[in-house]
């Protein structure tokens, strides 16, 4: 750590002297020096004001400068925020221990004085995979009393889901129940989390620093170091050129899955297999125009689109800056306040929660405006309650070592009919219908430490990726081909029809031939009278699969969470139970242990 005026009790000159001396010391010298200083201090026993104050008093209570940050992250957002908080806190002189919840030794919890939690919520209010054991421990009987713990929770979520930030809320509540006190109130963040997250961090730092010497001065802007390696980031996306856009599904398919190749040239962006790519899409202009027809304002009127005061034409802002395809509860509440619509107020009354939930399902802003009218006095007021256009995350389908300066994606087109109108996935249909080679797409890399190949290239891997879940495994295999990894590889893939939906078929065939891919099993659910899925293929080969597990294979699952991931999870337990002659509970423990050891990783959505 570099000593500065802002993060230490020293003046400029002292800090510089120490900075030049300290790095040259050996461990023994450091120990000797600290002993010498402490001894001299106790001998002199002065109470002078210029004595260094390492610990400050606050309300008579000692505040430790040790802070533990735990994160639970599915896509990497919470982890990124946790890492950012860690570096800021270190910059403010705190000693930070940062860890994912799954890596954290729960015994240490009792000794922890300051705990920060950054956690996302997944699916229907579920905790992310790498929080499961910690979550269970904390909510179980073995949870310790946490009197004396000071904590704060940063919760991430998506307000279009019913159980918004549920996991964060649960941790927040539970820590309180166990005797902890909040050093800063929980912050629930929606998809555009940057502003609330930095507000939370400032609050936390200021609370932790209260009463400390020069704490007030310490708080301001020590810029986040995460992502500083590249100038492009989530908040400053790179405009990547589209090199290729191919529909991977053959004629006659029910599916439309686009293979997108983007250029990263000049971006300095790097990624590893398992990482994701964020895309900032645009809304369908047809949909925006339909919405504009319901509104009285001039499409060319200028509106402010963010706190920085950036200006845009109203129509353009609805295309580029705001989300118009999802109705969040909070949007409806704010709209009700602004419009005063009686029906809307009625819908929001206690007791109507079910009706409200039902109404929100499968409807968008156009439906809402048609049903309840507009709100606000101006276009500006109208957009003021809209969510910022959130980025869409896609698992990266290529490897930088195989395709330097490129990133490939596998995007399934989402189209469905709802309430009498055809609905289109914002980003997927942009890619399917409108994106042409040569177009530019704002993107950023979302690192995901929770979906990484084993460190040891000899470790066998089992990959389960039906549908677009195949994407990261294309990246894995490309990477292994380049690095000549020796570990065996086994891929399970499934979709509807063999003839039209075997994504990247010729590539897998090639890799099977060259041996980069050891084994592949496919299940096409609509080719046979009886539907066959990947988990059926796994079950058919349970003996061999268990053998792989026993030999240390790591298992990766990517794709649909609701059905596939759950079924595959249960199938794994079933296989372990059967082939390992174990009780159900032991099989579960076996899989949990794998998870703990990063041998069972999921990237599900």
């Amino acid at each position: 750590m570099q000593l500065q005026v802002s993060n230490s009790p020293f003046n400029q000159e002292q800090a510089e002297l120490l900075n030049s001396l300290l790095p040259s010391l050996t461990e023994t010298q450091k120990i000797w020096l600290s002993g010498y200083l402490t001894a001299s201090l106790s001998v002199s026993n002065t109470s002078s004001a210029d004595a260094p104050v390492l610990e400050a008093q606050s309300g008579g209570k000692t505040i430790s400068k040790e802070v533990t940050i735990l994160y639970g992250s599915q896509t990497g957002n919470a982890q990124g925020l946790a890492e950012n908080a860690a570096s800021k806190l270190e910059g403010n002189g705190f000693q930070v221990t940062i860890s994912s919840m799954s890596d954290f030794k729960v015994n240490n919890l009792k000794k922890t004085e300051n705990l920060l939690i950054a956690v996302s919520t997944h699916g229907e209010g579920d905790p992310p995979d790498n929080t499961l054991s910690f979550h269970e421990y904390l909510h179980g009987r073995r949870a310790p009393s946490l009197e004396g713990l000071r904590y704060s929770v940063l919760a991430l979520g998506d307000s279009s889901y019913e159980f918004f930030c549920e996991t964060g809320k649960q941790f927040d509540k539970r820590l309180e129940e166990l005797g902890g006190t909040r050093l800063f109130p929980r912050m629930d963040c929606d998809l555009d989390y940057d502003e609330p997250a930095s507000e939370w961090l400032e609050g936390v730092i200021s609370s932790l620093s209260e009463g400390q010497v020069s704490s007030a001065a310490a708080v301001p802007e020590a810029k986040a170091s995460v992502g500083e390696k590249t100038s492009y980031s989530r908040t400053n996306p790179f405009k990547a050129e589209v090199l290729e856009n191919i529909n991977l599904n053959g004629r006659g398919s029910n599916k439309e899955t686009h293979h997108l190749e983007l250029s990263l040239e000049g971006s300095g962006l790097t990624f590893e297999p398992g990482d994701s790519l964020g895309i900032y899409p645009k809304n369908d202009s047809d949909l925006v125009d339909m919405l504009l027809m319901e509104l009285d304002w001039d499409p060319e009127e200028t509106v402010k689109v963010n706190k920085q005061g950036e200006l845009r034409q109203f129509r353009e802002s609805l295309i580029s800056d705001f989300e118009i395809t999802v109705l969040t509860k909070s949007l409806i509440e704010q709209a009700a306040q602004l419009s005063g619509n009686e029906d809307l107020k009625e819908l929001l009354k206690p007791g109507n929660e079910e009706r409200l939930k039902e109404y929100r399902e499968g409807r968008d802003l156009l439906d809402f405006v048609r049903d309840f009218g507009s709100w606000g006095e101006s276009a500006q007021e109208f957009v003021s309650i809209l969510r910022k256009m959130p980025a869409r995350l896609y698992s990266i389908a290529s490897s930088l070592s195989a395709y330097p300066d490129e990133v490939h994606l596998t995007i399934g087109a989402v189209r469905y009919e709802s309430h009498g109108r055809e609905r289109k996935g914002v980003c997927s249909i942009l890619c399917a219908d409108r994106l042409q080679p040569g177009d530019l797409l704002p993107i950023y890399i979302q690192h995901n430490q929770n979906f990484k190949q084993p460190k040891n290239p000899d470790t066998p891997i089992i990959m389960v990726g039906p549908g677009t879940g195949i994407a990261p495994f294309r990246s894995f295999i490309q990477d292994r081909e380049e690095s000549e990894a020796k570990g065996k590889t086994w891929l399970f893939f499934g979709d509807q029809h063999f003839v039209t939906d075997f994504l990247y078929q010729t590539e897998w065939q090639k890799w099977l031939k060259t041996g980069v891919l050891t084994k592949m099993d496919v299940a096409f659910s609509r080719d046979t009278d009886e539907k066959v899925y990947v988990q059926d293929r796994m079950r058919e080969q349970s003996g061999e699969l268990y053998e792989w597990l026993q030999k240390g294979a790591a298992v990766y699952i990517c794709g649909d969470e609701k059905n596939m991931a759950h079924d595959v999870h249960n199938t794994l337990i079933e296989i372990i139970e059967k082939e390992g002659n174990m009780s159900h509970a032991d099989a579960q423990a076996y899989l949990e242990d794998m998870q703990q050891n990063k041998r069972y990783q999921r990237d599900v959505y």
Binding site: I246, N247, L248, N249, G250, R251, H259, F498, V499, T500, F502, L503, Y504, Q505, T506, E507, W508, Q509, L512, M520, D521, V522, D527, T528
Partner: protein, 572 residues
């Protein structure tokens, strides 16, 4: 057994010979590769063996480039051909084929130029089920392709029913007698358990031997005056000799075949030549011995010179005949006189023996399908449900609803009318005398369109025909997508062989009765030139022809093309 005066060509065995050698009597690794789920295809070696099981791998060539870009393998699918001697199918069998085409095929059936059903578009995982269902209907696909005796053809003449049934029985006996004996088919497709080979059982193929034949082998039986099966195009042709209403025996013709290779004058179509006569009950013996001669002396080094016609031309007709008689242990009789009128079909209703009726339906390109308002496939399905006679697939890709009783006839007529199925009388006689092979998109050999294009071309030729008052003039017109000649182009009065997309070699001058080959008239021409040429030729024919002179004869008599007197001067 081997005659020292005769020799097989020297040279290393061709790739297919080696594949057969390794195959353990046509098994190869078919059992295993058919189980593989990663590709709908099978390796080339196994595909060569697959032919002997009546099928081979194809892909939809229309989609080839598109799918490659999509990172999908070619749209692999199997063609499956039924062994059905003489083209006779029971209504129950028709219904099974119809059902399989809907369930596993591309929803259509092809009636081939060798009188059998062909299905396209069957996926690998449906092959076993399909073959098993065909087997359950008392048909099979054994030896429908490959280096063995193929489907035995037989005249389907409707008005001589008694002779027909007798001749048909012989074609069936030939078909069964000449089958490969290996159990490979039963093991791979019908789940028969493999018998562990003992030394005695090693003699699996007493006639074919381990390597089977050097090339495919085709047999057909004609009943004069109809040469509908193009007896001269067969490796081995039998011409039924009927005297006083009784079948007395067969003239034997050997060494015909249509295939050739563009640009290779060592390959050519050839007509079979009559070498003698045999009693009906000697037909199996003659066929077996001819086949063993081809087995022993055929070219196993160069496949495109491996057909029996080249063996005969190389060894000479007389030495082959002598060798045959040597192997038979008796001499052929002197060939009897016979006369052919034509090689086409007679359409519409005719009354046969025992008061039974037969209806010959015009099926353009042999394709049984529901296309727009023309519900041919549905109509035939409905007919098959009530029909008590049988169906006969003709060598000209048409269909005879045969053995209809007087009572049944009314119901059949009603169904024919309901679905608009006819003898094609509203078409020109030229269209009704047309044949096209499958070609694109499924045939891997096709260089140009045939079945999909010929009807379109005929639309335009019909205008010329009408201008010249030739609407009722039967002129045989045949189009084949490559020079292998499944549509017997060299025996069409107007013949086309595909050269490249939209380009054809045009041939003229074959005999109306199938007794003379055609000659190339124009090379590598497109539709515009084809029509330009035909406008001149047909107009001349209309004006200058003699009474009863067929178009094929006219072009020779008028000096438009030179007469081909033998396959060996086809290219001159």
């Amino acid at each position: 057994m081997v005659n020292p005066l005769l020799k097989a060509p020297a040279g290393p065995p061709s790739d297919v010979e080696q594949i057969k050698e390794r195959s353990d009597y046509l098994r190869g690794t078919l059992g295993k590769v058919m189980q593989d789920r990663i590709s709908a295809g099978i390796p080339d070696d196994d595909n060569r063996l697959m032919k002997h099981h009546g099928s081979y791998l194809q892909d939809d060539r229309d989609l080839r480039n598109e799918r490659q870009k999509q990172k999908l393998e070619p749209a692999y699918q199997f063609m499956l051909r039924v062994r059905m001697a003489g083209g006779v199918a029971q209504p129950s069998q028709w219904l099974v084929m119809d059902d399989l085409a809907q369930k596993y095929g591309n929803g259509t059936l092809k009636l081939t130029t060798r009188q059998t059903f062909q299905m396209h578009g069957i996926l690998k995982w449906n092959m076993k089920k399909t073959i098993q269902e065909i087997h359950a209907s008392m048909l099979d696909t054994i030896a429908a392709c490959g280096d063995v005796n193929r489907n035995v053809m037989c005249n389907s003449i409707p008005f001589q029913s008694e002779i027909h049934s007798e001749v048909y029985e012989w074609s069936k006996k030939l078909s069964d007698y000449l089958l490969p004996r290996t159990r490979a088919y039963h093991e791979i497709w019908l789940d028969e358990e493999k018998v562990v080979a003992t030394p005695e059982l090693e003699e699996v193929e007493p006639m074919y031997g381990k390597l089977y034949l050097p090339r495919k082998f085709k047999i057909g039986i004609a009943v004069p005056p109809s040469n509908d099966i193009d007896v001269y195009s067969q490796d081995l042709g039998f011409i039924a000799i009927v005297e006083n209403g009784k079948l007395v025996g067969f003239n034997v013709a050997i060494g015909g075949g249509m295939g050739m290779t563009h640009g290779d004058k060592a390959t050519y179509p050839q007509l079979a030549k009559v070498i003698g006569f045999c009693q009906p009950d000697k037909i199996l013996d003659v066929a077996e011995k001819i086949i063993t001669i081809q087995r022993d002396y055929g070219n196993r080094s160069v496949r495109k010179n491996a057909r029996f016609k080249y063996t005969v031309d190389r060894l000479g007709l007389e030495p082959v005949k002598a060798e045959l008689e040597n192997r038979l242990g008796w001499k052929l009789g002197e060939a009897r006189t016979y006369h052919f009128d034509n090689n086409g079909d007679r359409y519409g209703w005719v009354k046969g023996m025992q008061g039974k009726w037969h209806f010959t339906l015009f099926v353009e390109g042999g394709r049984i399908a529901d296309i727009n308002d023309y519900k041919l496939m549905t109509g035939l399905r409905e007919i098959a449900k009530i029909h008590t006679g049988d169906f006969r697939l003709t060598a000209n890709q048409n269909l005879i609803i045969a053995d209809v009783s007087s009572q049944e006839k009314e119901k059949i007529i009603e169904l024919l009318e309901t679905y608009g199925l006819t003898d094609g009388a509203h078409h020109s006689a030229l269209r009704r005398s047309s044949i096209a092979c499958v070609a694109l998109p499924t045939c891997g050999l096709a260089m140009a369109e045939a079945e999909r294009y010929l009807p379109v071309l005929i639309d335009k030729i019909e205008a010329i025909v009408d201008e010249n008052g030739l609407r009722n003039e039967e002129i045989t017109i045949r189009m084949t997508g490559c020079p292998n000649g499944c549509a017997r182009h060299a025996l069409g009065e107007i013949g086309f062989i595909g050269k490249a997309p939209g380009k054809y070699n045009m041939y003229l001058g074959a005999a109306f009765d199938g007794s003379r080959l055609s000659k190339m008239y124009r090379e590598n021409i497109g539709e515009e030139e084809i029509l330009k040429e035909l406008r001149v030729l047909l107009s001349r024919y209309a004006k200058e022809r003699q009474q009863g002179e067929h178009f094929g004869d006219f072009v020779i008599n008028a000096g438009i093309v030179k007469e081909v007197t033998d396959g060996t001067n086809f290219h001159d």
